[in-house]
């Protein structure tokens, strides 16, 4: 198991299977609130659902209305369980706050060197760390 220090954006604990993207995500237009599926053409998660995952991606982008779309996806059961960003951006941070989704950023090491899709990942946003268990 690897433990990395991280800066909390919200509070709480989350654990589950990692889904890793190397690309920024826009929740308005980029993610279908009816399914949690990434629908932006050319995105490296195109066609995959973020529902129930620990979503690892560099940062947010796009319309500031993204937090409404994320909230709708959350209420319908299609949001991720937790979020790890390289650098948090306003739309994603607000989405995590209003849905009480554990979220951290600014890990002590580059998350893309340590986390792969399918890894079991635990976020502790209260104490400020991430644990990675390779399965």
């Amino acid at each position: 198991m690897i433990r990395l220090k991280a800066r909390p954006v919200t509070r709480g604990l989350a654990e589950g299977e990692a889904l890793v993207s190397r690309m920024a995500i826009s929740f308005t237009g980029g993610m279908d609130p009816e399914s949690g599926i990434i629908r932006e053409p050319g995105h490296d998660l195109f066609g995959q659902s973020v529902a129930g995952k620990i979503l690892v991606f560099p940062t947010g982008k796009g319309s500031t209305t993204g937090s409404w779309q994320y909230y709708a996806a959350f209420k319908r059961g299609f949001a991720p369980k937790g979020i790890i960003n390289e650098k948090a951006e306003g739309v994603v941070a607000v989405s995590a706050i209003i849905t009480e989704t554990p979220m951290v950023h600014g890990l002590e090491k580059n998350p893309f060197d340590y986390i792969e899709t399918g890894d079991f990942v635990r976020i502790d946003a209260d104490k400020g760390f991430v644990e990675i268990i390779k399965i």
Binding site: R7, V9, T10, T28, G29, P33, T64, T65, G66, S67, W68, Q69, Y71, A72, F74, K75, R76, K87, A88, E89, G90, V91, A93, V94, A96, I97, I98, H105
Partner: protein, 418 residues
Amino acid sequence: MELTPQQKDMLAGKQGDGMRKAMDILTAYGQCYDAQRLIPVTSVHIAGNFPVLLDEGIDWLEDLAQGGTRVRVFTTKNPEMYDPLQADEMKIPMRLRQRQGRIHDVLKKLGVVLTYSCHHYLAGNVPRFGDHIAWASSGSQVFANSVIGARSNRDGDHVALAAAIAGVIPEWGLHLKENRRADLIVDVGELVLESYGPEDFKALGWSLGKKIGARLPVFINLPPDLHIEKIKGLLYTLTVTGAMGMVHLVGITPEAPDLETALGKGSVHPPTLAATPEDVDKAYGEISSGTSDKIDLVIFGCPQCSIQEVQEISELMEGKKIHADTRFWICTSAWVKLLCDRMGLLKTLTAAGVRVVSDVGAADGPHLYLKEQGVRVIAVNSARASYYAHNLFGMETWFGSTRECVLSAISGKWEGRK
């Protein structure tokens, strides 16, 4: 982030659950950008309408309003989906009326001023130079920074509403003077701007927005007496294809009396981007998405039409009649519609078959039901409306001047450039 004892109490929930939620949002948001403190805001504008909020968003607002949470800063609201005074004759579906009714009720409960307008700064929500504000609408946010000299970041609705409730916003980005300096020079001197209509400034904005991206440009060689409608045309389109929060227009922007001031005194000159007539021509081809010539609807008002624009349209339509198979809408605010009525414009326009629709904009809300009513091809004089109506609602769009759109409404087919 440093919080005052009073702000700590607000965050701890001592001023109610709504205030705690607002402070939660503001502190998480501020932390993303390493804001050091929260500073007072004097003006807020919120944007989201039903196509963006969805049912869950309305629930969220209703939860927020529980326990008597109210805004403490003057807050106005962007357009909605339909004109409530024409709901029956325009056959607005009941499910949409019910949603808009809930949004109306909850915003009223929160204390938001129900302007349903995106030209709120023409009707009372006018910040002063240097004011810190939170305007969640990319076009008017850039207008506030670039024309008024008020300071707003590209905040979303949740942040703007939280700021309205708490009365403060994290100090980062464009709230700080040192972040308001230009990092790119845009030279428009090669263009014959004297011959440019508002639509040409929109095409110019479309082309430059893509190249500027999220940088903070300073425009040089613009005529200083540029009409406000042309300035709006440029700024509101730049933010469709770009993500900038502010633009310096030398001789127009209060913080840009000259190039040196916009860049920051003594700084090294950043790169220069020169706009060409070819860029503008190319943009026309990109903005229009139409394939069929037959026009179902001519729709103006993104941003909502000012009284001056309605006067222009009314003069063009005087004594004319629109084609039997084409509809013609002018989207505006309730008070501009009132002015139209008072000045006799409404009579002229109604006789010509033109409908003046208040509380909506031409880019989004109405397309939800217009599509269901068989509208497929639209003509617009707004590049912004073309982009959103096509990308969010699948409309085929033709973009051109006000005059070309009016001629198209009369003949029933597209009369502008293709």
